[in-house]
Symmetry: C2
Subunit: 213 residues, 2 copies
DNA sequence: TAGATTGTTAATCGATTAACAATC
DNA sequence: TAGATTGTTAATCGATTAACAATC
């Protein structure tokens, strides 16, 4: 028997959910009880039609003639995004980017718990970031065998990435949040990879600046 | 008479160009002279058909029976992305994220030149990052009137964003690389915005982790 | 020349938008 | 009830894939 019948939500929709989530949070904070697809469309710069389509992917609890209940919708999207099931994560690389991510990002409110930070350099090891002491990368195996993190955050140079990815996969890591310029992409199917590639983002901006002139 | 006849390249294609650029750079470094769409497709995990479609958007200089010349293609994509026309940029916010971006990102090779860093806090102002001394935000107007930066990089709290965006627009800034959790998006048409939204990216990862279990 | 691979057109697929009946 | 707004189907649009003739 197949229990997986729920029509799976397309990636295009999923990528819009965090944005809905942010706008609904603000609405909630401002005391809004309900919102119509038309109002929300004006706020977010989408079509009302798309909003209704999106929100219907997961059982419509909007009400005809009334709109959507803000708080309920906010909670539901959070639930779908998985913010209420924390996955443990290790951060590799405590350079500028690694430290910024570790201190700046509110992991817990986004379904992730940072449980370890690793670096190779003598300068970084031993320093305390948040409530975590930076460890030597040589200790990665022992740490992961005990704590079993599901996620690795890569803030390391391109050259270091291929080898580290292999080590992490062998240790059972299933998801990568990748800030390195290395492309993990399709090399390892079955693994979940979220590539950030800030350099690519900057180049896209560069293109549009040059084009518009 | 209309000189703008070049069929404009779709945003889906543009967003793939930086990735082509990276792979072609590696090929070039490894001494490859030419590459076929089939070989490149295996490397990148795309279809050969898509690669040929993409590369043809800007005048095909592949050769039948031979493939594409790596170096020439690399240069051409760089040119299209605008890496050879530097736009001046100011960075707002010298906290963890701002410092990481300023030190970590190779701006010049991506068509942008960082010419000023601004922050409000007494701790940050006066510090030197790269070759730039962090300035008070109160000096933003004077600085921009003289130097005319085209781009602003926002590494500031959500609350500070709306007001700062207005100030920057008034000073002639046309492009935003936005790391704040504020959505500049459609508020200001005519302006180019590249939103990074790291929190959204992490939530998407969170979703896929929860879903696959 | 024969083999390989592009450029390009046509077919498919998926995502967005429009329309409207159902219903609060 | 009348007005508003959803849920949902149908139409449109755009992007990806397949196919193949052109040509190096």
């Amino acid at each position: 028997m197949n229990y997986e019948l729920e029509k799976s939500i397309s990636m295009s929709v999923i990528r819009r959910l965090p944005r809905y989530y942010r706008f609904l949070y603000d609405l909630k904070e401002n005391g809004a009880d309900r919102i119509s697809s038309r109002e929300l469309s004006a706020l977010m710069g989408l079509t009302a039609s798309q909003i209704r389509q999106d929100l219907n992917c997961f059982g419509g609890f909007g009400q005809q003639g009334y709109g959507y209940p803000v708080e309920q919708l906010y909670d539901e999207i959070g639930h779908i995004l998985g913010v209420d099931t924390l996955s443990d994560a290790v951060l590799l690389g405590a350079g500028n980017m690694g430290r910024a991510i570790a201190t700046h990002m509110n992991f817990e409110s986004r379904g992730v718990r940072l449980i370890g930070i690793f670096d190779n350099s003598r300068r970084a090891v031993g320093k305390v970031i948040r409530d975590l002491t930076v460890q030597k990368v040589t200790g990665l195996e022992a740490f992961c065998r005990e704590r079993r993190p599901k996620v690795a955050i890569l803030c390391i140079p391109k050259e270091a990435a291929p080898h580290l990815v292999e080590r992490l996969l062998a240790l059972g890591v299933a998801g990568f949040w990748n800030f390195s310029h290395y492309d993990i992409a399709h090399h390892h199917p079955g693994t979940i990879v979220e590539n950030v590639h800030l350099g690519d983002s900057l180049m896209t901006l560069s293109y549009r600046l040059a084009e518009d002139k």
